[in-house]
């Protein structure tokens, strides 16, 4: 039993800062939940509260049905039966790799022979069994984080916490280790909480993803659903959906820019006089100027400002409506346009995300009503 229940958790730093604000979250056994958000959103504080390294102001935390924080109870970190992977690895520099990995078992009082065997086994899982007698300073960053992973899993804790474990690694290593964490999770079936600000990491690793904003849950959903229907424009932007068109109502039409460009949004009942249209870069296509749209296909004309060649994919930067910049992404050389060319930007209404209201809530559905 290793589900995690967080109830009405609040943690402030001084009177002005509320790092976690009345947060409630249930994590099922074997689930890997990713906490996603920009720095300062409270994700690391939440993780540290789970680990017992930070003391919440109020609320309740239970791990595996056992209350570890709540009311007058606080179980100290070392009795919580957890594993934690740090951003800067935190391998003790005065111990060898094997000693580092065996440490949780040593703390439990496991015999030397048994813990050496277990450490070897854990190191084999992360493909570091050849490093046993090295000191942390003598191995590379990627190896250090693998060893730190081995240390976190060696005692088979009921909950493993990851605090931005891949942020200090280079791009390629990040990809490899992501895959390894996925495999470990699948093999060992631990319950996990994973903090990151990288949306790719969140999408690839999470059973569910929690997007945090100022200590509250902005959205909680499986990765696919999160990317398909970001609940607010904050979530959409954080997921990298950056093409934004600020629309306002003029008579019965939706317009943007100066001079005003009209966008045809058929049959959309809207609660507000202004709204925001967000578009994924992959959902935009470019066509020759003057191209016609369709029933659910919107066309806006603009000028290519720049083309960024990125190897596999390229980005076309198009300015529309005098000042609004859209980015269209496609395989390199998909479209023949270069800087200065006039183009028609097209997108399906089905793919567009429309946000309105003071906290930018998703208006649904956009295209389906047609």
């Amino acid at each position: 039993m290793s589900e995690v229940n967080i109830e009405n958790l609040t943690k402030g730093f001084g009177p002005a800062v509320r790092a976690i604000d009345e947060l409630t979250l249930d994590i099922a056994e074997g689930e890997l939940v990713v906490l996603l958000g920009p720095s300062g959103c409270g994700k690391t504080t939440l993780l540290r509260c789970l680990a017992g390294l930070e003391r919440p102001d109020s609320g309740r935390i239970a791990i595996g049905g056992e209350e570890v924080f709540g009311g007058r109870r606080e179980i100290p970190t070392h009795r919580r039966g957890i594993g934690l992977v740090f951003q800067n690895y935190a391998l003790w520099p005065h111990m060898t790799v094997a000693q580092n990995v065996a440490y949780p078992l040593r703390a439990k009082g496991v015999s030397r022979r048994a813990r050496e065997a277990a450490a070897r086994e854990a190191l084999a899982l992360v493909e570091c069994e050849t490093l046993v007698d090295r000191l942390p300073a003598a191995i590379s960053g990627g190896q250090q984080q693998r060893v730190a992973l081995a240390r976190a899993i060696v005692a088979r804790p009921r909950l493993i916490l990851f605090d931005e474990p891949l942020s200090n690694l280079d791009y390629r290593l990040r990809g490899q280790l992501r895959q390894e964490i996925r495999d470990l999770h699948r093999t060992l079936g631990f319950t996990g909480v994973y903090v990151t600000h990288d949306q790719t990491e969140a999408m690839q690793l999470g059973s569910r993803v929690v997007v945090l904003r100022e200590g509250r849950i902005e959205q909680l959903a499986p990765p696919q659903e999160l990317f398909d229907r970001p609940a607010t424009s904050y979530v959409a932007r954080f997921l990298g959906i950056g093409n934004a068109i600020a629309l306002s109502r003029s008579d019965d039409r939706w317009v943007f820019g100066d001079p005003a460009v009209e966008i045809d949004l058929p049959h959309v009942p809207l609660p507000a006089d202004s709204c925001e249209l967000l578009l994924r870069a992959v959902d935009l296509t470019l066509a020759p100027p003057g191209s016609e749209g369709g029933a659910d296909r919107v066309v806006v004309e603009g000028t290519v400002r720049d083309v960024l060649f990125g190897g596999d994919v390229s980005e076309w930067i198009v300015e529309v409506g005098g000042g609004t910049v859209l980015t269209a992404t496609a395989a390199a050389r998909t479209w023949p346009y270069a800087a200065g060319d006039r183009v028609a930007v097209q997108f399906e209404l089905d793919d567009a995300l429309l946000y309105a209201g003071p906290d930018g809530r998703l208006v649904e559905p956009v295209g389906a009503a047609a």
Binding site: A51, H78, R79, G83, W92, Y103
Partner: protein, 569 residues
């Protein structure tokens, strides 16, 4: 199933019943212990000054020559700052302009003068520069400089006191500025140069502003240390009756019965200035963590180097270390001191006599005991205090602030003032410890606490909290974490703390002089007795003994703390 599940449940419940309140109590009692050791004696002393409607102040202002005493104190302080701060800064800057191979050896050397006990150094300078028999003076006269049987230089003057005090304190400035320069590395300067700044612009816009914290900090330290400067005015001022506040306080402490009220009144200006300097430093520097947490991995790249940069350093070492040590060796080997080196008459009689003297043996054993007990008490206290200062979320903020205040306050109090306060507290009821080793130990613990905190704090800051957190997550309790992770990681910091305490205790002179009785001397006070009642070779032998004991202590601490500790002393 139920039975197995309930057993660990009970264990965790018991652990959970040790909530924040009890932990808070432990930290509060730590703050209380520190307050009793340091604040209480000071408060007790200063309260005396206001007894009887404050007539002690009347006695003070009518004391003959009191104006001159205050002026002297100020001259020594300002003069020392004017010598030590520019000299130390330039030496530190020059160290980084040496070729790397040379720098590795030379960079540590300007700290060596700190290892020479102040009273030993002052004694040595009297053999070098006393007007009639000073070695350098006879040498200068033989070159035709000066005339007659005395001069041309005289160490027993205000100038002598100021110069010796300034040269001694240069090492402190060097220490702070050098580590600040080294931590930053040359990359920041290289970045400015890459932006098109000329060398002079780089120096004024990047180098100097970055040095500001170190220079301000060391200016404050030097000012306070020279304000309380004791050994130089005591040994050098006596022939011409040059008094400073600290020597006057010592005189007062020697009368019987001791006029504590007068001493307290004299001490008040020192205390107030000490407080003001601490506050001013805090204001100027802001949060010191901003400067302490800089990584030490910075590199010295793209700096033009030259062997010439070593010349001023060598001259400084010659003046501050080599000459005084040579003088001591020569005098200790001479049957009597005449101002001439006559190797044919060198003898070890002085050494033999000193070792045969029971008071020497007794002083060495008292010193060793006092040092041992002090280390055993003060290093763990310092560890806990450093821990309290770092655990921002676990230790209640007021407790942390009190600990912080006490440790910086103790640093800013001249030792003669602390000595006077400790004498009052522990020689009067209910303690009556005067004449015991216990009194010496209590005094040293109070005095050394800040020096035991600082290196351990620096070490902890450098390692960060993650290592201990990782250990707790791995299931190790607080004790196991401290033993297996905390201590090993700050081993060098502990080594530095131990060696600092050894150095400072053996060098400690003002407090020792006040709290030891004539029957139970430590080695520093034995040396002072010898300057008054003994012969020059005797003084030299004891001074060299002090140097030897210091060296042994430092080497032992380095062996325990790892060789890298030397870099941090």
């Amino acid at each position: 199933m139920t039975a197995t599940a309930s057993a660990p449940q009970r264990v965790t419940l018991a652990a959970a019943r040790r909530p924040a309140r009890r932990r808070g109590l432990a930290w509060v009692s730590l703050a209380l212990v520190m307050a009793v050791l340091i604040i209480w004696p000071l408060v007790r002393l200063e309260l005396r000054a206001f007894d009887n409607g404050g007539d002690a102040f009347t006695r003070m202002v009518t004391y003959p020559g009191i104006g001159r005493v205050f002026l002297n104190t100020l001259i020594v302080a300002v003069g020392s700052v004017l010598i030590a701060v520019p000299l130390g800064t330039v030496l530190a800057w020059l160290t980084l302009r040496m070729p790397p191979a040379l720098r590795r050896v030379m960079a540590i050397l300007p700290i060596v003068p700190l290892m020479l006990p102040a009273v030993a150094k002052v004694a040595a300078w009297t053999y070098l520069l006393s007007p009639r028999t000073g070695l350098l003076n006879t040498l200068l006269r033989s070159w035709g400089l000066g005339s007659g049987a005395t001069g041309p230089l005289d160490v027993f003057t205000m100038t002598g006191i100021v110069v010796i005090s300034g040269v001694t304190l240069t090492s402190f400035v060097y220490l702070f500025v050098h580590s600040s320069l080294e931590q930053r590395g040359a990359e920041l300067e290289a970045a400015a140069a890459a932006c098109g700044a000329r060398p002079w612009t780089v120096f004024t816009t990047v180098t100097l502003p970055l040095l500001k914290p170190a220079v301000i900090y060391s200016t404050g330290i030097v000012f306070l240390l020279s304000l309380g400067q004791f050994s130089a005015p005591l040994l050098l001022g006596a022939p011409k009756n040059i008094d400073t506040i600290s020597t006057l306080m010592y005189r007062v402490s020697g009368d019987y019965p001791v006029d504590y009220a007068l001493g307290a009144a004299l001490a008040l200006p020192l205390l107030v200035i000490g407080l003001l300097v601490v506050v001013a430093q805090r204001r100027a520097l802001g949060d010191e963590r901003r400067y302490a947490a800089v990584s030490g991995r910075a590199r010295q790249v793209g700096v033009r180097t030259s062997w010439w940069a070593a010349v001023p350093l060598v001259i400084y070492l010659l003046v501050a270390v080599v000459l005084p040590l040579l003088a001591l060796v020569v005098v200790s080997l001479s049957p009597y001191w005449s101002g001439r080196i006559t190797p044919s008459r060198f003898t070890f009689d002085g050494w033999a006599t000193a070792f045969a003297d029971p008071s020497t043996q007794q002083a060495i054993s008292t010193t060793a005991q006092a040092v041992g007990f002090t280390i055993v008490l003060v290093v763990p206290l310092g560890y806990l205090a450093a821990l309290a200062l770092l655990q921002r979320t676990r230790v209640p903020a007021p407790v942390r602030r009190v600990i912080d205040l006490i440790s910086s306050l103790a640093l800013s109090m001249p030792s003669v003032l602390m000595g006077f306060a400790l004498l009052l507290t522990y020689s009067t009821p209910p303690f009556r410890l005067y004449g015991t080793t216990a009194m010496v130990v209590v005094a040293y613990v109070s005095l050394m606490l800040p020096h035991a905190i600082r290196p351990q704090l620096t070490s902890m800051l450098a390692t960060g909290p993650e290592y201990s957190e990782a250990s707790r997550v791995a299931g190790a309790g607080p004790l196991a974490t401290t033993w297996r992770v905390g201590f090993p990681l700050i081993r060098s910091g502990i080594g530095v703390a131990v060696s600092l305490v050894v150095i400072m205790v053996i060098h400690e002179f003002a407090v020792s002089l006040m709290v030891t009785s004539p029957g139970r001397r430590v080695i520093g006070t034995l040396l002072y007795d010898a300057t008054n009642f003994g012969t020059a070779p005797q003084v030299a032998v004891i001074a060299l003994l002090m140097v030897a004991i210091t060296t042994v202590g430092i080497v032992a601490a380095l062996v325990a703390g790892g060789a890298r500790a030397l870099d941090r002393v």
